[in-house]
Symmetry: none
Subunit: 239 residues, 2 copies
Amino acid sequence: MALNIRIILIQTWHPGNIGAVARAMKNMGLSDLVLVNPVDFPSDEAYSRAGQATDVLDNARVVSSLAEAISDCVLVVGTSARDRSIRLPAYTAEQCAEEAVTLQQQAPVAIVFGRERMGLHNDDIQQCHAQLNIDANPDYPVLNLSQAVQLVCYEVFKASQRQNQLPQVEEDYPLNEDLNRFYDHLAQTLDEIGFTNTKAPGQALDHLKALYRRARPTAKELRLLRGVLSKAQEAADKS
Amino acid sequence: MALNIRIILIQTWHPGNIGAVARAMKNMGLSDLVLVNPVDFPSDEAYSRAGQATDVLDNARVVSSLAEAISDCVLVVGTSARDRSIRLPAYTAEQCAEEAVTLQQQAPVAIVFGRERMGLHNDDIQQCHAQLNIDANPDYPVLNLSQAVQLVCYEVFKASQRQNQLPQVEEDYPLNEDLNRFYDHLAQTLDEIGFTNTKAPGQALDHLKALYRRARPTAKELRLLRGVLSKAQEAADKS
């Protein structure tokens, strides 16, 4: 199920960034890209940076104003590192993603990214319903454009995953009774090789059991461990 | 307070990616970059993509093996989109970040990224304690290298923000070199008790090593395990 979330880039200078944005979007399952007055598009440079996301570029729409890009949207969030005189609700990327994934069920949600050097102008921000500030190092918070898009799309992907997540069991795991048999075998082997003659033997066994519980061995690994124990017992038998 | 978290890039092909990684790191407050056999570094292309993160490139260390890059690390996480036969704990970027931010209080934590086209090889993965899979679109999960680094560094930044007051590391964990000594001891003991006479012995050892990497024994538990091995060796000696 494709998410109805639109990425809008305003006056992008470097075509390579447009390509990198397309790839970042597709990596996170998004495909609706709108370019407001791009400086150089379409271009080879954009396609060469897009990896396998050339379809996102093929379907990108070029428009001449932000107003045109957002007219059908239910929520418009502007990404900005700067404080503004116009006070808008300020989202983290995570909060923006939660809100976008919820509202896109109704109509498109737009997330807007500004120019490489200048970001969003005040008249862009005035068309947004909310502002998004990406958590970053206060000493150098200015991310590359495609990296900023990547982070936001990633949060969107995670938010959509959280909504319908079912864990899948990939490995065959032993039952608890199999684990208990392994612990018995371990205790017996420690005894036979003389390990339990040292001080506080029960405590050592408890520590080892905790370690193996933590490792969560698969059924296959448990057979391997029991094979090792059997060999140690054989060695002890002969001695 | 700088986090003691190291980003390691293996055999990076495009110098532009190295520059973009440096910027992505600095945007999220990280600075320790180690390059294993980069194809082209230092280079103008790397510096032109680094923005204001040229200091990260200036201080980057170039080494000739992954082993060298991680020998002083307490935790080594490999980033990989592919499933592996050797089962390691699989972290999301978020879980990896939580663990890294906690453990870096004790010693450096390494997060390893593979080649642009090939990712990590199996012999790289075998040196990792855990595996990191970045949540992504299953139809096109292959992120650009610098984008992958950006996401992980962003999660690290968020995790460090969450832990305003960092929890104390309760346990003392062994360094990678201590673990390697344990693996050598394990291999030798398997040999002495006759376990390596069975079919595919190297594979069995690899599985056991993966299991112990996953269990992440504390320094105390490692001493316990080595005590058990020594006893098994004694038993084998006598027989």
